[in-house]
Amino acid sequence: MSKVTIKELNLFYGKFQALHNINLPILKNEITAFIGPSGCGKSTLIKSLNRMNDLVEGCTISGEVKMDDENIYAKECNINLLRKRVGMVFQQPNPFPMSIYDNIAYGPRTHGIKNKQIVDELVEKSLRKAAIWEEVKDDLKKNALSLSGGQQQRICIARALAVDPEVLLMDEPTSALDPISTAKIEELVIGLKKDYTLVIVTHNMQQASRISDKTAFFLNGKIIEYDETRKIFTNPKKQETEDYISGRFG
């Protein structure tokens, strides 16, 4: 079942067209990977799913992005509520310069949860889901910036999960991390599939093939091919896809 459906999406940064007529389903409880060479529009598309592009001056969008049959670009759509439903993890871990606890509690508090006990529970639950509870449970008051990069990224995942999103967007979440931290996060992401719908941008072909169910291959702002990950990597239909995954360009 399709959780998010992108229809005829065109996106411009000023006069420059960064996305051309994108049509793509994002299936529920699956991991969809976006791959493609640098500058082909992967980040741009992932950011249009939670309307982070609205923050970019001069960015205009036409077409539709439907989430459960609701057009997120409709006038009546509440952006803050949308972003609560569609969480995001960034390339560089970006915890707030405050305690681990406050980092996780920030989202729930933003959405009006004030009760200490409920917040406590949410913090623990989110940290557990992000597989970092055991490492930090004894010093939740510690500043999140004192953690290692890999731990910080898992804090950021926990922070995104704390507002109870339905979709989680991850833009190259492991590209700044060492292999061990990367492996931890990959394992964790696979585990999240049963509760969430995930989209992950990655430059790492092995990563895409290890963890994703569907893969979309981008080139110059267009989706060249979209299919089961297995098919994309073993039997791609398009020449460009094959060239890219076999490392001939990009």
Binding site: R83, F96, G107, T110, A160
Partner: protein
């Protein structure tokens, strides 16, 4: 060889800087301390006791009132410029040019403007109000600049993280940006108060030099720096003038120490 040369130059420059500071302070202390008598702190000024207490209290009043007016305006302007205004906005460019220009104007020009506008045109007379408003215009660029710079130093990725969690602009600014930017803003505000404490020219033409403690916004008064200037220029009370200098230096030192302490404490809290 040339490395030693440069090293020597560096030490020499440091010595000059530190040496002159040391020299000035000890000169004033030596000249002033012996004359720092209790009479100088009498509540009422007379020509015999030349008390500095009214001037000291007036200084606090002027600094306090100036900051109460200038801080919100300056901080909000800084926030507008960085967080709200569009980047290529012509109005923003204009505000920037205005603040940069204002910051470079000698304070005597502010004094003359204050006299023509507040004292004469608005008929405030030589008054606390005219002095404070002139000082406000004078320190606004400092506060705006400090706010802008500390907001720019807050990484955009933090704002993005906050927005991506569904927080609105106001919440993002107050909960995420402000705490990080606070030490910088605060040191700008303290810099501004230092500027007011040391100001003479701009205040002489707007507050007058009455020796009494102002009892309303519309009465004249003199700050410590102004008091010291008048004492020494009259030539009758040079010793007391040095003693006043001692108190002035102490005030500035205390303000500086306070700012260092506050900003290091705030920085520690946010990045610990």
């Amino acid at each position: 060889m040339s490395r030693n040369y440069i090293k020597g130059l560096v030490y020499f420059s440091a010595l000059i800087t530190f040496g002159s500071l040391f020299f000035i302070i000890s000169f004033i202390l030596i000249k002033g301390l012996p004359h720092l008598t209790p009479a100088l702190f009498s509540f009422h000024y007379t020509t015999t006791n030349v008390s500095l207490l009214p001037a000291l209290l007036t200084t606090f009043m002027v600094v306090g009132l100036t900051l109460i007016i200038a801080t919100p305006i300056g901080v909000f302007t800084g926030f507008y410029l960085i967080e709200y205004a569009e980047k290529n906005n012509k109005g923003v460019e204009l505000i920037r040019i205005a603040t940069d220009t204002l910051a470079a104007i000698p304070s005597i020009v502010y004094g003359l403007f204050g006299m023509l506008f507040f004292v004469t045109f608005l008929r405030f007379q030589y008054s606390l109000l005219a002095g404070v408003l002139t000082a406000v215009i004078m320190v606004l660029p400092l506060i705006i600049r400090a706010t802008e710079e500390s907001l720019l130093s807050v990484k955009d990725s933090l704002r993005q993280a906050s927005f991506s969690l569904g927080a609105g602009k106001l919440r993002t600014i107050f909960k995420i940006v402000l705490p990080v930017a606070m030490p910088g803003i605060l040191s700008g505000v303290i810099l501004a108060s230092g500027r007011v404490v040391g100001e003479t020219a701009a205040l002489m033409y707007t507050m007058g030099t009455s020796t009494n403690l102002p009892d309303s916004l519309f009465s004249s008064g003199r700050t410590l720096a102004l008091h010291m200037y008048v004492l020494s220029s009259e030539g009758q009370h040079v010793n007391e003038s040095y003693a006043t200098g001692v108190v002035l230096i102490l005030t500035v030192l205390i303000i500086n120490a306070l700012s260092t302490y506050l900003s290091s404490r705030l920085t520690k809290e946010t990045t610990k």
